[in-house]
Amino acid sequence: MLNQLSEPGLLYEGADWDYDKIKRVYDAIETVARGEMGLDIYPNQIEVITSEQMLDAYSSIGMPLMYKHWSFGKHFARDEMLYRKGLRGLAYEIVINSSPCISYVMEENSMTMQTLVIAHAAFGHNHFFKNNNLFRQWTDAKGILDYLEFAKNYISRCEDRYGQSAVERVLDAAHALMSHGVHRYPRKTAPDLREEEQRERERQAYQEKMYNDLWRTVPTKPGRPEASTAVAERKALLGLPEENILYFLEKKAPRLKPWQRELLRIVRHISQYFYPQKQTKLMNEGCATYTHYYIMNRLHQKGQINEGAMLEFLHSHTAVVFQPEFDDPRYSGINPYALGFAMMQDIARIASDPTLEDREWFPDWAGNGDPMGTLRDAWANFRDESFVLQFLSPALMRKLRLFQVRNDATEPELVVENIHNERGYRSLRKALARSYDIARLEPDIQIVDVDLAGDRKLLLQHRVTNRILLDESDARAVLRHIANLWGYEVALIEVDATSEAVLKEHTVAGSSVLLG
């Protein structure tokens, strides 16, 4: 029965999987993915694991190797309990942005699920990792596994040398600052000598061209007071203001030992590695879901999978892209799979078969007859926020019946601001896009000053938008961690971004827990 399929052309029958079948399916998927969709992927590595191992992978933030820390044990304990009690299923796969791209598939999956998972992870996510601008700019897919290996060994050596609890204290503090340990913008690279010279020449030429003696006669502002230049100088020296708190502490904290700095650096690198994933959740899942949907349908059309398999696939696919409405008890925010998939399908529709409205909204590409090309371009060049802002169509807003609610704590009731109609489309879309903007989701906290001449107090500032303050008890706990790393007093002031009024102030005295 192994190789005798009842219909010629079928890749497999039944639920059981084996390596031959996976190989055949992979080749068939590759034909569709490369040939018809034009996907460009890292080499693939598919690893079969048990549910136990899947739980392991869950708890160490999805990475195959990770240093040891109690928080991973905590996550494992919770995930295990939820799973064992049947409160939560496990993901069918985990995929790692590395080259080769590693996808974990579970042994419990049926053959159809394996096919779905390969199409979803090994092609959809893989293409996205390799081509999206953010990933290209920020992550090093080839180096990540080696780096983690280094990190793991380094940290375990530190534990041997300085004791587990000493290492743990640094890691705890670093983990608390993880979300504020990323560079959001590419750093300026120091120009080399030739470039510098070239620039200097151009500047000179420009100034000569623009020279006008008249400027000499215009009175200049009186010179700034001495003190403030000292402040400016000090800030420049320390590279302030700095929003990457981990980076600042790693480089500038006066009392840390070299190995402690290295630990901060490791956590910072890992946080930076995940930064693009946070910003592209919607697109990444949308891309992968669209890819598996397209591929499974094509396989079915070509007679390579049978009706039963197709039904099984549709069953799990619809479960994944299910979007409960806001008044449904199951509602817990917008499902990135659902919205992502709906947008991808909508883009494909507009590119091949647009309505008049679509042509008006998307004059550049509506009806260009190249749905895959348009999608690939979107996948490469956008992140969630800009993607929604550019590609969400009125037709889809109507379909999802989106509406916008304003929740102002000072008012007794919620107000419906916009709904899915002509007047509301644009601001609705803008508001939805903002909700994917990581800069708005995470509080804007910067290190603004250090009192170098006095008691070395570190001053942080939270720029408050829309009067939303920090969670107080957590903020104090994090400040304590910062104080441990910095070694002296730390203060955080929450300042309204528009009026510059100070709303709240937290101060934590310095300590030398880490430094003893």
């Binding site: 044990g73 979007q323 304003r406 609705l428 939270h462 939303i468 994090v478």
Partner: protein, 436 residues
Amino acid sequence: MNIIDRRLNPQGKSLANRQRFLRRAKEQIVKAVRDSSSRRSIQDIENGEKISIPTGGVREPSFHHGSSGGLREHVVPGNKEYVEGDRIPRPQGGGQGRGNEASDSGEGEDDFRFVLSRDEFLDIFLEDLELPDLVKQKVKRSESYSIHRAGYSPTGSPSNLNLVRTMRNSLSRRIALKRPKPAEIEELEQRIRELEGGHGDVVELQELREQLERYLRRSRLIPYLDPIDVRYNRFERVPRPVAQAVMFCLMDVSGSMTEHMKDLAKRFFMLLFLFLKRRYRHVDIVFIRHTHEAKEVDEETFFYSTETGGTIVSTALEEMQKVVRDRYPPDEWNIYAAQASDGDNMSNDNSHAASLLEDVILPMCQYFAYIEVAQDHEGSLGGALGAAFGRETDLWRTYKHVANKPGQAMAMRRVKNRREIFPVFRELFARENAPG
């Protein structure tokens, strides 16, 4: 494409993380375990336990927005009836648009629930319990030896050959005896070949040949590796002192014991049994049950079979005395005993039991624990009054008289409810000056 089967990779990759987590949350977990153990049934002790600890020590804080206040905008799907400008009453417990957000940072953070495995549970529960006064430390018969490294020896089995040490000896001997190196011989031969080919100095050639001859003879006579170089790793068997201890479990199974009382007594001994099995690998356990006559039985019979009859406590003590005389000479063994009874006894046996206990049993025992199980009258006024006035049983009074004498290593506790079993057990076996 590569497919790799990772299913056979070592399991339990996060075990180390889990242990770290348990250690981190130790204090809270110990407390949670104590709390939960009073509710558990004895059969449950074989299972894991779901416990819930406050997030305090295991909180992972981060800078994030508070969950209330301020101005927030939400875009939500599924509009049915609203048009712009509609006002919606604020739902209780946070805005409906951000139900998820609210629960993430709200009540979800208060407690952290997870499952402790059976071993973890027992380890924590039985931690800092011990048998008191384990002093008469005796060296157990020859079986408990441990092996220690003890330097090197010139004899031994080939598997213990220490190559580094051997080669070091060989090298120093070769240097000391000036055994020519292979490189030197080769160089000499090379020179000889050159001279022979190039019609060189005959005298020099002759000298070189003689020198080569000497070298060769010397390297034949002085072996590269001599038996006197060889060294073996030496191991010594060190006898390890093992505290020999035996625990006597004496249980009254007479007709006066109700099912409830038997259940309590069995729970107590089950716990004792688990504790000894886990913590003391070399402790013998002797089970004696009695009605009007006493018998030594095995574990299975002790816990699971039923019997009825009258009550004569002294028979159990006599049986214990007999077993001690036969198998456990008191000068070699640490002897412990735990007795559970409902306190009923033939009235003419009390004085006999007391004198047996005082004159025979206690002198040979390290520690004697007496548990009196009683009917659970909890809630009823009579029971409360009865307890308040200390309605003592005959046996309790008898034993108390013995126990109150100075220097007696004897403890007495009364248990009425299964909830009290765990705390009483902990009291009886708490390590002295143990924390908590």
